[in-house]
């Protein structure tokens, strides 16, 4: 590639690098050529024959995913010949397709449906009976396989061969009995198995977690960032709020990867994809004071009371946070705890509870999205073991916990250690295991209910948007920090006046 050449696409003069695939060049020029087997990350076997275009001078129509752009080339993707060739290819794909769209989860985002509406020939000339194959094969923990719906584009087999290199899927048989199946003795249980559902252009591979939960046309899609690890994969949050009786009452229906070649390519891991089940579990909805007795208080009252507590604890104040905070949260955190209160004890390292498996594709060791954001702001984390010792020694007067489940940090000892601290404050979206042991509980929004930025482990900043309304009185973390800072300033003013 390299040299920019001129060619004609559908009668218009367009420029593209020489040798670039016509299908890619057309996409850049804003023309979508129908395709199933071609995927930018998985190569171009040219077996679906859908991307067929007419090239002037060529004896037959050409597949645009295997034809490079040349100087002076004349390509037509919407000529009569090209359209007839595409319609015929689609007709062949539909020969054995069961057309069970009403019960198919792919329905609404299916390549066959889309292209049929666009270029289908609308009257079938096939008089043969359909070939029946196996339906409802449990391919793995997350994926369901339906061989009947498959059009043998081989995207999934190329994914397990080239991307994960685990080879769980293959093509077996030949002719009309050819089918995708599991390699004998294997199940599709690699850490990235959910991606085959995304790349499958039809309903052959569907998501078991999402199966029959919501029809896709009910979903509202919002750009977001995965919080599963410090990779910060770009994702799309698919939420179902208009019809709450679907999806077992849960608001988020599924997470899908969003293409970003600088961060995650086209993929995301299964840990991130299916790791949203605790999002709505045991949410904090109200501002609560739990000791001496449980009572609901206003944000204003909480601000005044907590400002007093934070100011009076001095060196006895420790803050246990986590990498779940956004860049904006860290800014407000720094302004409050470092600049204003001059706190020395910060604990937000991912060890020991938020670390996990790392591999060379996407997954990272730190299972929180934004430790780098804290690092970039010059914040340094202490060790949770030291905090436990300090608590044991009675040095901690006030423990402020932000979006962290201490029962996972210290295990069974956590409740005992928490009782050693004078005043304990929990701020976060969920109650976690020890939620009732705190003196104050401040509801914060989950990442799908706020907008902000995460800095991933490479220092790349990604933005996430608000997908859902906050639950109860929840506020973003930065807003709570700002409220406390305001309360502190007001307290100072009162002192001066007195």
């Amino acid at each position: 590639m390299g040299k920019i050449v001129k060619y004609k696409l559908n009668g218009k003069d367009v420029e593209a690098p020489e040798g670039q695939l016509v299908i890619e060049a057309a996409k850049d020029a804003g023309v979508e050529i129908p395709h199933y087997c071609y995927h930018p990350a998985l190569g171009n076997p040219g077996n679906c024959r859908m991307c067929i275009v007419e090239v002037a001078g060529a004896p037959k129509p050409q597949v645009s995913c295997r034809t490079g752009v040349r100087e002076g080339m004349v390509v037509a993707s919407d000529s009569e010949v090209a359209k007839r060739a595409q319609a015929s290819a689609l007709e062949l794909h539909l020969v054995n397709h069961p057309l069970d769209c009403p019960v198919c989860d792919q329905s609404g985002e299916c390549g066959l449906q889309d292209y049929y509406m666009k270029i289908g020939q609308y009257s079938s000339e096939v008089r043969e009976d359909k070939e029946h194959k196996e339906k409802r094969i449990v391919a793995g923990p997350h994926v369901m396989l339906d061989q009947e719906r498959c059009i043998l584009c081989t995207r999934c087999t190329r994914f397990v061969d080239n991307v994960t290199k685990t080879h769980e899927l293959g093509i077996f048989g030949m002719g009309h009995t050819e089918k995708i199946d599991l390699t004998p003795g294997m199940t599709l249980d690699n850490a990235y198995s959910g991606n085959v559902v995304d790349i499958c252009p039809v309903g052959a591979l569907t998501d078991r977690d999402f199966r029959y939960k919501v029809r896709v046309w009910y979903l509202e899609k919002t750009d977001s960032i995965c919080t599963g690890c410090s990779r910060g994969c770009n994702i799309s949050v698919h939420a179902n709020t208009a019809r709450p009786w679907h999806n077992d009452g849960k608001r988020v229906a599924r997470l899908k990867p969003r293409m970003n070649l600088d961060v995650n390519g086209y993929w995301m891991c299964d840990d991130g994809r299916y790791g949203f089940s605790s999002l709505d579990a045991d949410r904090l909805g109200k501002v609560l004071r739990l000791s001496p007795q449980k009572s609901e208080i206003s944000w204003f009252a909480a601000g005044v009371e907590l400002a007093e507590i934070l100011k009076s604890s001095g060196d006895g104040l420790a803050v246990a946070a986590s990498g779940m905070l956004s860049n904006e949260d860290w800014d407000a955190y720094k302004a409050l705890f470092v600049d204003e209160l001059n706190v020395k004890r910060h604990y937000f390292t991912s060890a020991p509870d938020q670390v996990g498996i790392e591999d060379d594709l996407l997954r990272r060791k730190d299972k929180v999205p934004n430790l780098k954001g804290a690092e970039a702001r010059g914040l340094l984390s202490g060790d949770f073991g030291d905090l436990a010792k300090d608590l044991e020694a009675g040095k901690i007067k006030t423990l402020y916990v932000i979006e962290r489940d201490l029962s996972k940090v210290w295990g069974d000892k956590a409740a005992g250690l928490l009782a050693k601290a004078g005043t304990t404050i929990l701020q976060g979206p969920n109650k976690y295991a020890l939620g009732d042991a705190f003196a104050y509980r401040l509801p914060a929004t989950a990442y799908v209910e706020e907008e902000g930025h995460f800095t991933n482990f490479e220092g790349k900043i990604g933005a996430y948007k608000k997908a859902l309304a906050p639950i109860g009185d929840a506020r973003p973390d930065w807003d709570i920090f700002a409220l406390l800072q305001k309360a502190l300033a007001a307290g100072k003013k009162r002192e001066v006046a007195a």
């Binding site: 009403p102 019960v103 339906k135 409802r136 009910y218």
Partner: protein, 188 residues
């Protein structure tokens, strides 16, 4: 067919239309024409003379049962397959097309692999239904009809207006809930 614009002239207000008497008289003429025509037709029938159209009849609803047209859209009914299982595959097309959003379906795996999907719950809130019949049109498996020939669907509570799947299938008679009976909204 191209769209054409036709300008309709506003009727002129003359003295004859402004005094209204002429129009009142014309209206009464229609009323009396119906009266005498029907009187004549009923008399001919009473006398046994054939060859005349039947006279208009007033049905004493609700004392007498309502007479519904053959294609009247009445209360929904869910149909069953030959093996007795509900035909519904929970594709949710009726729920999607419903302009009143009165249909609520949740789906589950069907034991029969060739059926794949079936409805776990299927509720229609007849208090919200506008009886448009789109659900019948949308259904790809002919599972829902609006031909139960029931139009007396009122109940004592909004909750009782919701029909569930066994009731729509005809397996269970629709009975008013006890809660609905105990709470009479008209009595404080």
């Amino acid at each position: 067919m191209a769209i054409k614009v036709r300008v309709v002239e506003r009727p002129e207000r003359t003295f004859a239309t402004q005094i209204y008497l002429l129009e009142v008289w014309r209206g009464l003429a229609i009323t009396f024409r119906h009266l005498f025509v029907n009187l004549f037709r009923h008399s001919m029938k009473a006398l046994g003379v054939k060859g005349f159209l039947p006279g208009a009849v007033t049905i004493q609803y609700p004392e007498d049962p309502a007479v519904l047209g053959k294609r009247a859209r009445t209360r929904h009914r869910l149909l069953k397959r030959d093996d007795g299982a509900p035909r519904c595959t929970a594709c949710l097309l009726c729920e999607t097309i419903c302009p009143a959003k009165c249909i609520r379906i949740t789906a589950e795996n069907a034991p029969d692999v060739t059926v794949e999907k079936r409805a776990k719950t299927f509720d229609i809130d007849l208090g919200m239904c506008v009886f448009c019949g789109y659900c019948v049109e949308a259904c790809p498996v002919d599972a829902i009809h609006m031909d139960a020939n029931e139009v007396e669907l009122s109940s004592y509570s909004r909750k009782d207006m919701i029909w569930n799947m066994p009731e729509l299938l005809g397996d269970v008679p629709k009975l008013p809930s006890q809660v609905g009976r105990a709470v009479d909204p008209l009595k404080p």
